[in-house]
């Protein structure tokens, strides 16, 4: 007999079932609608394009649990546990709908139960339940006894674990007592029947067994409904939000910084004070940012991978997201009320804004500590976009408050007066002393302009050490017969440091100016050396009308080697580690090409670093931090990385980014390992391997 078809105290089980259901669903819907309205406080943003791709992402990331499995390492197996819990729980979720909803609730019992389907599905549930229980016990031991750095002790986590454990335990109680009462102690489902076999031997009366099974069934049902009520009110909201967050995550470039619309500017010029630049209040973020907050499960993967945190800065991406979420939930209801009043045309000051978001919730020191390396976003299982929140807050500080570290101000002023973030006149770009004998084609000065441009970049053009790498690049390209030109002094900073520092308009001006220059010369392809220029030109310039193709030199060189146009014949005879630049590997997923190039070098031995490819570790120079000072009293990020390099025991560390190169060399100098370790740009090693001696 089904527990629902019974009558309790004269009330039909069906009535009890559906009353409970309606209460729970109402409470769930009430909270969900509230959360939806809070989310809509965020600014508009279109995340609906490429629906097909988005659905694909969900299938690829969520169902096979790539989202958590991707960060599983020997040291951190938690993702595996999550996957088992997810899969196991998913089977249960389906069973709740089919067996509890349809079979019991709708009375379709006779059609669903009693066949092979039930037998097989309950066998699956038996194993799913077992796996979930193992995973839960493991998780509890981890969180409360082992206590890894990234996790916090939390009551909520304990409640959730108990609930899930309770659901699984009740499943076995319901099934095994039922089977024991029916005397079915062998066959499928195997675990429940095995327990039933044990129970049958205890001599508990049949009726008691049925009663226990039924009681457990109702408890189980209540717990499921309780779960539905509790989830949207807890940090486990990620169960509901994360899948959507993965659906709405950026397609294409991983870090999306929206241009500030010209309309906003015009409104500001006309004295409209309601327009905000950047984010100073929680509702200045986009709705997707709000969804990000909902999705955060405070798993702390970002926390333990953040170079700022690892090097002792006060920034923790986990805390930023969590604190912003708490702030949103605190001020959200007041904002909703204010919005309602505003639509009813009643003037009233926004309530609940006694705390200022910048300062009280996230302090400026944290905002400036981020190198925008993207490690947090890469490991985040639920697709949270940390970086653009930091940048939006920087935008506000820069554009509205004019508050910034002095070092950032100097860099930006240089960019304004001289077109580059470094000190030194723009005219030195590709001029005079070092390019004289190379016969480089300078745009506007040669008879026929090639349609391929070598984009030198400010650092490659102006900083002595990096100039050497550009010289090597020019030599290699010429030797391989690539017809290319350079811009010389007409090349202005790509604007990346300004954009990452939040000085958005300078980026916009630089982008427009450079795009115009390149259009005038009819450039079709741009080869870049600096990954930061590469990222800006490739991913961010199209929004301002750029139509040229952008490639990084590592792609070009790998291709030239493949085509046989470039032959590496000289012995390199070094043990090489490759330091992946964040903006190349993580931002643009170019990490195989540099390795292919190294593999083609005669006698070069390669050692992979532990943090590499998509999970590389920042050199400390991104996000404007080549210029912005690091927090005093903390370890320098490049020294952390240098310790890792030294740990590999290589004699040469190569990279393909001018910032990384400078940072690595400084690290070598400071760590006093100059005699045993050299830092080189990959292209310099290519040149050595290529030269005919």
């Amino acid at each position: 007999m089904s527990p629902v078809s019974a009558t309790y105290f004269g009330i039909s089980g069906y009535v009890i079932f559906w009353v409970m259901f309606i209460i729970a669903i109402s409470l769930f819907a009430q909270r969900a609608y509230f959360l939806f309205r809070i989310m809509c406080l965020g600014k508009q943003e279109s995340r609906f394009g490429n629906i097909g791709q988005r659905i694909m992402n969900m299938f690829v990331e969520v169902i096979p649990q790539r989202c958590t499995l991707k960060s599983v390492t020997g040291k951190d197996l938690a993702g595996l546990g999550h996957a088992f819990m997810f899969w196991g729980f998913s089977f249960f979720l389906i069973s709740y709908i089919v067996f509890i909803g349809f079979a019991e609730g709708l009375g379709l019992y006779p059609y669903i139960m009693g066949g092979t389907f039930e037998e097989v599905y309950f066998s699956i549930l038996d194993f799913a339940g077992l796996f979930v229980i193992i995973a839960i016990v493991w998780a509890a031991i981890r969180r409360f006894i082992v206590r890894p750095e990234r996790l916090e002790m939390s009551v909520e986590a304990g409640v959730i674990m108990l609930m899930v454990f309770g659901l699984m335990a009740l499943h076995f109680i319901i099934e095994s007592f039922d089977f024991a009462a029916l005397g079915e102690t062998s066959g499928l489902p195997p675990i429940s029947k095995a327990i039933a076999g044990y129970l049958a031997g205890t001599g508990i009366p049949k009726d008691t067994m049925f009663a226990i099974s039924h009681g457990a069934w109702w408890l189980h049902y209540a717990l499921i409904l309780g779960f539905a009520i509790y989830i949207p009110r807890s940090k486990h909201l990620h169960v509901l939000a994360a899948a959507f967050n993965v659906f709405f995550r950026p397609i294409g470039p991983k870090v999306v910084i929206e241009p500030i619309p010209m309309e906003a500017l015009e409104a500001l010029e006309n004295g409209d004070e309601s327009v905000s630049l950047g984010a100073s209040k929680i509702q200045d973020f986009k709705w997707k940012d709000m969804l990000d907050f909902y999705s955060c499960a405070v798993c702390g993967r970002c926390h333990v991978n953040c170079p700022a945190h690892i090097s002792g800065k006060s920034l923790s991406p986990k805390e930023v997201i969590h604190d912003l979420k708490e702030h949103l939930m605190e001020v959200g209801p007041g904002l909703l009320a204010a919005k309602a009043r505003a639509s009813a045309d009643v003037e009233a000051p926004a309530e609940g804004q006694s705390k200022s978001m910048i300062g009280d919730v996230v302090d400026e020191e944290k905002i400036w500590a981020c190198t925008t390396c993207g490690a947090c976003q890469e490991v985040c299982p639920v697709g949270i976009e940390h970086i653009r929140k930091i940048i939006q807050m920087r935008q506000y500080l820069m554009l509205v408050e004019n508050k910034m570290p002095e070092s950032a101000q100097l860099m930006l002023r240089n960019m304004q007066t001289r077109g580059n973030p470094w000190a030194g006149a723009q005219s030195l770009r590709l001029r005079g002393d070092w390019t004289n004998d190379m016969g480089l084609k300078i745009l506007g000065e040669c008879e026929e302009n090639p349609s391929t441009l070598l984009w030198v970049g400010c650092t490659g053009a102006l900083i002595d050490r990096n100039v050497l790498a550009i010289l090597s690049l020019a030599n290699v390209l010429k030797a391989a017969g690539v017809d290319f030109c350079v811009l010389g002094e007409a090349e202005a900073c790509c604007g990346d440091p300004a954009r990452r520092a939040g000085y958005e308009f300078q980026f916009q001006l630089s982008a427009e100016e450079n795009i115009e220059t390149l259009k005038n010369y009819n450039i079709k392809e741009v080869i870049t050396s600096c990954p930061h220029c590469f990222n800006a030109l490739k991913n961010e310039y199209p929004a301002y009308g750029a139509e040229f193709k952008v490639v990084h030199y590592t792609e070009v060189i790998a291709d030239l080697i493949k085509q046989g146009k470039l032959k590496l014949t000289n012995n390199v005879d070094s043990l090489i580690a490759y330091h992946d630049p964040c903006y190349l590997s993580r931002y643009n997923e170019i990490y195989e090409e540099p390795r292919q190039i190294i593999q083609n070098m005669p006698k070069a031995r390669f050692k992979e670093m532990e943090r590499s490819k998509l999970n590389t570790f920042c050199c400390g120079g991104g996000g404007g931090h080549m210029w912005i000072e690091e927090q005093h009293g903390t370890t320098k990020i490049n020294h952390v990385r240098m310790d890792e390099v030294i740990g590999t025991g290589v004699d040469t560390v190569v990279t393909s980014c001018p910032y990384c190169l400078q940072m690595l060399e400084e690290g070598i100098e400071q760590k006093g390992v100059k005699d045993s370790l050299k830092a080189k740009d990959l292209i310099e090693v290519v040149e050595t391997a290529m030269k005919q001696s």
Binding site: L265, L268, E269, L277, Q395, M398, L399, V400, N402, M404, E406, Q409, L412, R413, Q416, T417, R418, G419, A423, G424, A425, Q426, S427, L428, R431, G432, G488, E489, Y503, E504, F505, Q506, Q508, L509
Partner: protein, 264 residues
């Protein structure tokens, strides 16, 4: 408070010495090809001073620059920093003027603008460093001048200026309108607020020619110049390097001290 700031575009002081060329015959600097000029560093400070006054007292900042039409860039940057308006004074007749000629041109432009409370100049230009235009301009305009300011405050109808002297500073007051030349001690020029950057970019900067401001050719004639350059040369730079030795760092330091004492 209406403030007029006079700024000059100069050869980028950051170009390396090797690139710096002069023509001794023509007694002129030969600007290296393709080096965009920059705003003179002291003028930038004058602009910062004006912006601070405007922050406190409201009002309007107008920027003037005698030079090529390229000087529009400097004016745009000034507008981005906080100026409201600006004019480029460019005319073949304005080329190669001495300090007196430049001050004359500026005075005509200022008279055309009309009402003003304060004129600010940099203490000297970063290229020639004569430091005369400010004082001569005040003389022509018939207003008081205070040089080497490190702080400027409005005090009723007066202007109160902290002026750098060799062993400290003095505080002077003058009735408005006055002219003040600003020294670098006033502080770093601000980074333009983002929105102003875009506004400035769109702004058209008018160019005034000699006839627009009613400048008489005779006043700018070479023959009427008050100064004459008799020779121009690049200074010969010699550096001698001596490593001061010593058995211990403190002994080396003592040797260095006695060496320095002998030099004086």
């Amino acid at each position: 408070m209406n403030i007029i700031v006079c700024v000059k575009q100069v050869l980028d002081p950051e170009i390396p010495p090797a690139k710096f060329k002069i023509d001794p015959e023509a007694k002129q600097v030969v600007p290296p090809a393709g080096v965009p000029p920059v705003i003179s560093v002291y003028d930038e400070r004058a602009l910062e001073g004006a912006c601070r006054l405007k922050d406190k007292n409201k009002g309007k900042i107008t920027v003037l620059s005698v030079g090529s039409e390229k000087a529009a860039d400097v004016i745009k940057n000034a507008i981005a920093m906080g100026a409201d308006d600006g004019f480029v004074l460019s005319d073949p007749a304005f080329e190669n003027l001495d300090s007196f000629g430049t001050a004359y041109v500026l005075s005509k432009a200022i008279q055309k603008i009309g009402a003003y409370d304060l004129v600010l100049c940099g203490r000297q230009a970063a290229d020639w460093g004569a430091g005369q235009v400010g004082s001569i301009l005040a003389e022509i305009l018939g207003i008081p001048v205070i040089t080497l300011a490190c702080d400027i405050q409005a005090a009723g109808t007066n202007i109160q200026v902290k002026r750098i002297v060799s062993d400290g500073y003095e505080i002077l007051e003058a009735p408005m309108p006055s002219l003040v030349t600003v020294s670098s001690e006033i502080g770093l020029p601000r980074l333009p607020a983002g929105v102003r950057l875009m506004m400035a970019k769109k702004k058209q900067i008018p160019v005034w020619k000699a006839q627009d401001i009613g400048a008489e050719a005779a006043q700018m004639d070479k023959g009427n110049a008050h100064t004459e350059i008799t020779g121009l040369s690049v200074p010969d730079r010699k550096t001698e390097c001596e490593i001061i030795a010593g058995a211990t760092p403190s002994e080396a330091a003592a040797n260095l001290v006695s060496k320095l004492a002998n030099l004086i």
